[in-house]
Amino acid sequence: MGVEEKLGDMGVVTTTLETAVNWARTNAMWPMLFGLACCAIEMMSAQAANYDMSRFGMELMRPSPRQSDLMIVAGRVSRKMAPVLRRLYDQMPEPKWVIAMGDCASCGGVFNNYAIVQGVDEVVPVDVYVAGCPPRPEALIHGVVTLFEKVKGEKFADLAKA
């Protein structure tokens, strides 16, 4: 005499609030346009017809930080650009996530010199790192799906503490 037998046919789903909210967050996550260099072209390829990212809810790339929840840092961040990056991250409303796409955003990449920030996690806290120079569109989609797994596992208690 479980709930399924009583309600089986009525088309009503029961779940916890966390699962429902996390499901909603992953199904329509809007990324912010932050294409800086070569990885931006692969991000555009991932958005285009062959490797369609709209299947994952990312139909629109919003240029405005106030209307987006995911920032995909695609490309090398120079020392002049780092304060701009931090400012845009601060302008995004909670909840927000960051994907560091490519080697330059993850760890400085090929460029170990005075001009490039060695890994964008010196500027913003990063959730998922996608490796590659540039990562294939499939790798980016894998990174996005990994982020969705992470979001589905988030608990409200942890987020409220932060």
Binding site: R79, K80, R86, G108, N112, N113, Y114, A115, Q118, G119, D121, E122, V123, V124, P125, A162
Partner: protein, 170 residues
């Protein structure tokens, strides 16, 4: 070298006391700092070298005299010729006349040289840094400026570098 170039180099030798060298089919003419504007105007007006293809500098530190060479690469479209002017600059006298009145493209090119090497161009209309941030100190492409190499994190030194790395907080 090409006969038309020979005539031009001869005129530069007589009027400006320039020396020249040839390498792999290219002609490099050495002139003095004070003769830059005249030489460029002469080449642009009388020999139709209408395109300043490239303008850059090289640092020869620790040699002080000359410390830099400024290089002007000129192209003539009508005659299909190229010539390169090299200007040695002393390390203690870093003031060079600007070429913006002869070729407008020199505006941004000289800003880049000012930013990367610290050579000052007199009467430049817009002497600001172009590639580095406004408050950057130092001139990166000089040979005594360090590369800024950061030690890569391997497993044996992972923890030491992790402690020193400035991670961002929330």
């Amino acid at each position: 070298m090409d006969t038309r170039l020979e005539k031009i180099v001869k005129v530069l030798q007589e009027k400006a006391g320039a020396t020249y060298e040839e390498f792999r089919g290219e002609v490099h003419v050495f002139i003095n700092v004070g003769q830059i504007v005249d030489a460029l105007t002469f080449l642009r007006d009388e020999h139709q070298f209408s395109l300043l293809s490239a303008m850059t500098a090289v640092d020869y530190w620790p040699q002080e005299n000359p410390r830099f060479h400024i290089i002007y690469q000129l192209t003539s479209l009508t005659q299909n010729l190229s010539i390169q002017l090299r200007v040695p600059v002393n390390g203690s006298q870093l003031k060079v006349p600007t070429a913006t009145r002869v070729f407008e493209v020199a505006n941004w090119r000289e800003r880049e040289i000012m930013d990367m090497f610290g050579i000052e161009f007199e009467d430049h209309p817009d002497p600001r840094r172009i590639l580095m941030p406004e408050d950057w100190e130092g001139h990166p492409l000089r040979k005594d400026y360090p590369l800024g190499y950061e030690e890569p994190q391997f497993t044996f030194n992972f923890d030491e570098i992790d402690v020193r790395k400035p991670y961002a907080k929330e």
